[in-house]
Amino acid sequence: MQKKIGYYPGCSLEGSAREYNESVQTLAKAFDVTLEQVPDWNCCGATAAHNLNKVLSFALPARILANAEKAGMENILVPCAACYNRLSMVQHELGKNESLRNEVNAIIEADLKCNLKILNIIQFIQMFISDFVGDKQQLLFNKKVACYYGCLLVRPNDVLGFDRAEDPQMMDEVMKSLGADTIDWPFKTECCGAGLSVSRTDIVGNLSGRIVKEAADRGAEAIIVACPMCHSNLDMRRPAIEKAIGEKIDIPVIYISQAIDMALGKTQKETGINRHFVPVNIELKKKEAEPQVVIEKTEEK
């Protein structure tokens, strides 16, 4: 059955996080889900807009929502946690505040309904992928992994509310279903330093350093993420991390979509893991056919 969903990749998935886009496309293709891009989408404004300019922080995401609504989309997948957060927050605020919605509508020249279902990558996986992995899985993700959720995927919980705020589980469940052993650790939703990556790399080194070190100390062989900012800070900023913590750690950082692709036996080109700064030297084990349980009846004589 052909399934279809609206798709908002966002700017980083066209640039520094292009492997995230590639792996999501690979995943969607493998499960016959068509990703239809939001027409003529613009940047959501990210941290810069809500830090400096409240009007833009509403208008930019609102235009994206309006374009998706106009195209008749009901669900949109937003793999970037930062974009997901901005779009969800703006839809929430405009949905409950009519006068603000009218003001924003006037600026963007649209008539927002605010009724889209905005899905993050994990919700997408749960809706379209998880139930169908079954026979498609060729390799067992037989590794100890640390699932790292970051901030913007889970907070604020009363608006996003898709998983627990302090100890989320959904990514862990996905990884366990692929055969991984997920560690319990306290830094699942600690901040990586986010948008300070360029302007205060020292802070990012400290914050991301704590996360990488904790995961490594607990024996994780990979960190699994669902946000391009988390990925770039934990992966591309590894030199700043190593400077901050004073040791070298070579634990790779993998998007959840890449992890599933890897278990499906996809090539490096399809998963995009060859684009990472920290090499992904992970060999997965071939998945054995399920042992057939034969119940033999022993005849009693």
Binding site: S12, G15, S16, T47, L52, E103, I107, A194, L196
Partner: protein
């Protein structure tokens, strides 16, 4: 409260713009305990809340001149753990914009502000963020010309830095938002 509408304290202005009431804070300190950036701040979030409560002009100025409001990365941990559900991230957004509007922004935080401005300018002209333009623009503003140059070849060879920007069809409309934002306030 009528007292709020009559006074011109930062706390009153905050309430007017965001509906956040600083008076709700009972100083439990959970926000500061959870804040990943509190060690970088001269006043952690709970202290900012206390300073607002004093409605003292000197404290108001200290807040607007602080590094606190700029090193805050809006991770939302404070709000998530606040027993009174005080929207501190919204407080920080308000303070940043007020700080710039009043020309009080912290000199040590200039680069953080430069980066945000370069980010918005990149969107203004093309509708989308173009990372090379952003970083080049930031380097010119900050004069950190050699920062991160070692990363460039690595990013290029991995296809992570498209040279040309993606330009949306209706870029005029998006740049129009920037113009409108100059004389709109909500």
């Amino acid at each position: 409260m009528s007292a709020h509408s009559e006074n011109s304290s930062l706390s009153a202005k905050l309430h007017q713009a965001t509906e956040v009431k600083s008076a709700k804070c009972y100083q439990c300190g959970k926000c500061s305990a959870g804040c990943p950036l509190s060690t970088e701040m001269e006043y952690p979030p709970s202290v900012i809340m206390r300073m607002l409560q004093t409605e003292d002009l000197k404290n108001d100025r200290k807040i607007l001149k602080s590094q606190t409001i700029w090193v805050c990365v809006s991770c939302e941990m404070c709000l998530s753990r606040c027993p009174m559900e005080i929207d501190i991230p919204k407080v920080m957004d308000f303070m940043r914009q007020k700080s710039i509007a009043e020309g009080l922004s912290n000199p040590k935080s200039k680069n953080i502000i430069r980066f945000h401005k370069a980010f918005l300018d990149s969107i203004k002209y093309t509708g989308r963020l173009h990372e090379i333009s952003l970083v080049a623009d930031y380097k010119m503003r900050s004069m950190h010309l050699t920062q991160d140059v070692m990363m460039v070849p690595k990013m290029l060879s991995r296809g992570k830095l498209p040279i040309l920007p993606e330009i949306i069809k209706d870029k005029k409309k998006v740049s129009g938002f920037f113009k409108k934002s100059e004389h709109t306030n909500f």
